[in-house]
């Protein structure tokens, strides 16, 4: 069955010949009744992976390198990281992750190396994508909290807060949330920030070889989670902050629990300083690594500790105060070099700053209701269900059908431990969000990775990923 090349060429038809022979080239005639063909047509879009330099057009390459730096192609070419002859294999592409212990979950990076130097890097995400925004459209506003809390699983209370505030704004009850509920929300978000940053301390230490730090960090975080468990019933994924207020009041003895955390933390943070901050090896590994400038951070949309590490004072708690943050005294911690050490130091300082906030909040939590007494969103108390048929029906209605939210669209953002956490909800007047979109800080922040890694050593890649502190649950949603 040998086929000569002449035979092959002979069978190749030109377009005119095809038309003359009456061969139908259309694969699938689209069904006019659906628009399926429209979205299948645009489905073949090429690979997500980083292509070798020989397959990357010069223009693409320049754009990749120069766009963030705001450079022209000519300027970018002068940076000197382009091999003289792209055809000659001077560079190597290696794959890091998604099952790499330092990628904080399932982040996959493709790195282009020249020797030990990282030239290009491309994060490939989606390994944890479970369609939570789609799920959110199927759930009522009351159930929505259980969904959003699982997105950025290290700051569940912040997710719930953003979602609840957006829903309340659509309902028009954002001004009527009881004082006690508002202050408890602040207490828990700050404790959540502490817990999240403590976990960062642990993982950052582990990534850089300070393995004992991992144990310390998790140990302290566990103390905070224990308090969360007392309050909400769960260590994570609380669904405690709900539209209209909170799921329950603080339990008896909560004050002691908070004070215990506040007493426990300072000496242990001092230990962190001894173990890491002042230690020459630690500084050597982090200082000057993964540098990003303010302009680059702003262009890339980075927020939170990454933006603040470059010296930009931007903290939504202070600059666009929500809840009652404007009534509290606290500082916004900023760095000056924009390197991995600054990001570490900022988070450590933010733990101390948050403790200061918690101290002030504990003093000021007023007595009162923990949720709004609006029959529309708040189910009747358990005791009334036993004696009143109407209360039972009301309770049943809220939990099966949910409450309807007026038509409109709103974007609300809060300062999560990782940056601006936004919640965009479009409502069609029904009991489910018509569209819910979470602007997760990790998703945007990992775009800084290629930039921070460029020109650095592959050994520093781990330090840089760690310093961005991405949570893949939030990245992929």
């Amino acid at each position: 069955m040998a086929t000569t090349s002449e035979e092959l060429t002979a069978t190749t038809l030109t377009g005119a010949e095809v038309a003359a022979a009456g061969i139908d080239l259309a694969v699938d005639a689209p069904d006019p009744g659906t628009n399926y063909h429209l979205f299948v047509a645009a489905t073949d879009e090429g690979e997500q992976t980083l292509k070798p330099r020989s397959q990357t057009k010069a223009k693409e390459l320049m754009r990749e390198v120069g766009s963030v730096l705001r450079m022209s192609e000519a300027e970018a070419a002068l940076l000197g990281d382009i091999p003289d002859d792209p055809d000659e294999d001077q560079t190597m592409i290696i794959n890091m992750g998604p099952q790499h212990p330092s990628t904080h979950g399932v982040l996959r990076l493709m790195l282009e190396l020249q020797g030990e130097t990282v030239l290009r890097c491309k994060p490939i995400i989606g390994y944890l994508h479970t369609g939570m925004e789609k799920t959110g459209e199927q759930l009522t506003y009351l159930q929505g909290g259980t969904n959003v809390t699982r997105m950025d699983y290290l700051s569940p209370l912040n997710n719930e807060l953003a979602f609840s505030m957006a829903t309340e704004k659509l309902l028009g009850i954002d001004g009527d949330i009881p004082e006690r509920a508002t202050w408890i929300r602040m207490l828990l978000s700050e404790l959540n920030r502490i817990a999240s940053h403590l976990l960062f301390m642990a993982t950052n230490g582990m990534d850089l070889g300070a393995v004992s730090m991992m144990i310390y960090g998790w140990r302290e975080r566990e103390e905070v989670l224990r308090f969360f468990q007392e309050v909400t019933g769960l260590r994570m994924n609380h669904n405690y902050i709900r539209p209209g207020g909170l799921a329950a009041d603080l339990p008896a003895g909560w004050r002691d629990g908070v004070l215990q955390i506040l007493d426990m933390l300072p000496p242990r943070l001092d230990e962190y300083d001894t173990l890491m901050t002042g230690q020459p090896i630690w500084r050597e590994r982090l200082q000057g690594v993964g540098v990003i400038t303010p302009n680059e951070a702003l262009a890339l949309g980075a927020t939170g500790p990454i933006l603040r590490s470059t010296g930009v004072e931007w903290d939504l708690r202070r600059d666009e105060p929500y809840l009652h943050y404007d009534e509290l005294e606290f500082g916004v911690v900023v760095g000056s070099y924009g390197d991995a050490f600054d990001r570490y130091a900022i988070r450590l300082a933010e733990i101390r700053e948050s403790m200061e906030l918690v101290r002030q909040i504990v003093e000021r939590i007023p007595p009162g209701d923990y949720r709004i007494q609006d029959k529309k969103v708040t189910p009747p108390p358990r005791a009334r269900i036993d004696e009143s048929m109407e209360a039972l029906i009301h309770h049943f209605k809220i939990f099966t059908e949910g409450f309807k939210v007026p038509e409109g669209e709103v974007y609300v953002s809060v300062e999560s431990p990782r940056g601006e956490l936004g919640c965009y909800i479009a409502s069609d007047g029904g009991p489910n969000p018509y569209r819910i979109h979470m602007r997760d800080p990790s998703f945007v922040n990992i775009q800084c990775l290629p930039h921070m890694m460029r020109g650095g050593l592959v050994a520093d890649a781990v330090a840089i990923i760690s310093s961005v502190d991405p949570v893949l649950g939030g990245v992929d949603r």
Binding site: T34, N35, Y36, L38, F39, V40, A42, T43, E45, G46, E47, Q48, E60, R63, E64, S67, V68, I125, G126, H129, G131, E133, K134, T135, Q138, K169, L170, G172, L298, A299, L300, G301, A302, T303, V312, W314, D319, E320, E407, G408, E409, V410, Y411, S413, E420, G422, Y424, A426, D428, Y434, R435, H437, R439, F443, V444, I446, Q447, D476, R477
Partner: protein, 174 residues
């Protein structure tokens, strides 16, 4: 009602007395948040003009599929289309925000990319493309970002039903 000013824009006089315009685009208010409705052709110019005004950071960009909700309330002069691209811009110096809602028709779901202006929209535009099938012209790398490359369809579209399509991964045996 007083007489309409003679030099007023035809629509502005009767419906909304003041009808403010930002860069020639209809402006609405949503729960105290400023929303601009530029048409698709002027979208990039409006974002650029806002950038010059101080809205230098693009915080968020997402899509919405209004297939099941075509009769939503929009300001006078904005023609509803199936898709919307929603962009949230931030002015750090003056601490203000502005939101853009661009109507994108179903037949030709293509919008200009903000990549040149705000490189941070790279991932967000890919997400919108992945989830809604809205293409962005001049985007450097418009590929799927969350779904696998060989996935068919765009999951956040309203006519993409939940759980009705079998899971398809590369290399999986049938």
């Amino acid at each position: 009602m007083t007489d309409a000013p003679t030099d007023a824009v035809p629509d502005a006089a009767d419906g909304q007395p003041e009808a403010p315009l930002i860069h020639g685009c209809v402006v609405g208010d949503s729960h105290g948040q400023v929303v601009v409705h530029p048409d698709r052709d002027r979208y990039l110019d409006v974002v650029r003009a806002l950038d010059d005004e101080g809205y230098t950071m693009c915080v968020d960009l997402c899509g919405v599929d209004y297939l099941e909700f075509p009769d939503r309330t929009l300001p006078v002069g904005v023609r509803p289309e199936r898709f919307e691209v929603v962009v949230n811009l931030l002015d750090l110096a003056n601490r203000r925000r502005i939101r853009l809602r661009v109507q994108v028709p179903e037949e030709f779901p293509v919008v200009a990319s903000l990549f040149d202006l705000h490189p941070g929209t790279e991932a967000m535009e890919r997400e919108v493309y992945d989830m809604f099938g809205i293409s962005f012209t001049d985007h450097p790398d418009l590929t799927r970002i969350l779904m696998p490359e060989d996935w068919e369809g765009h999951p956040l579209r309203k006519d993409y039903s939940v759980g009705a399509i079998p899971v398809q991964f590369k290399g999986a045996n049938a």
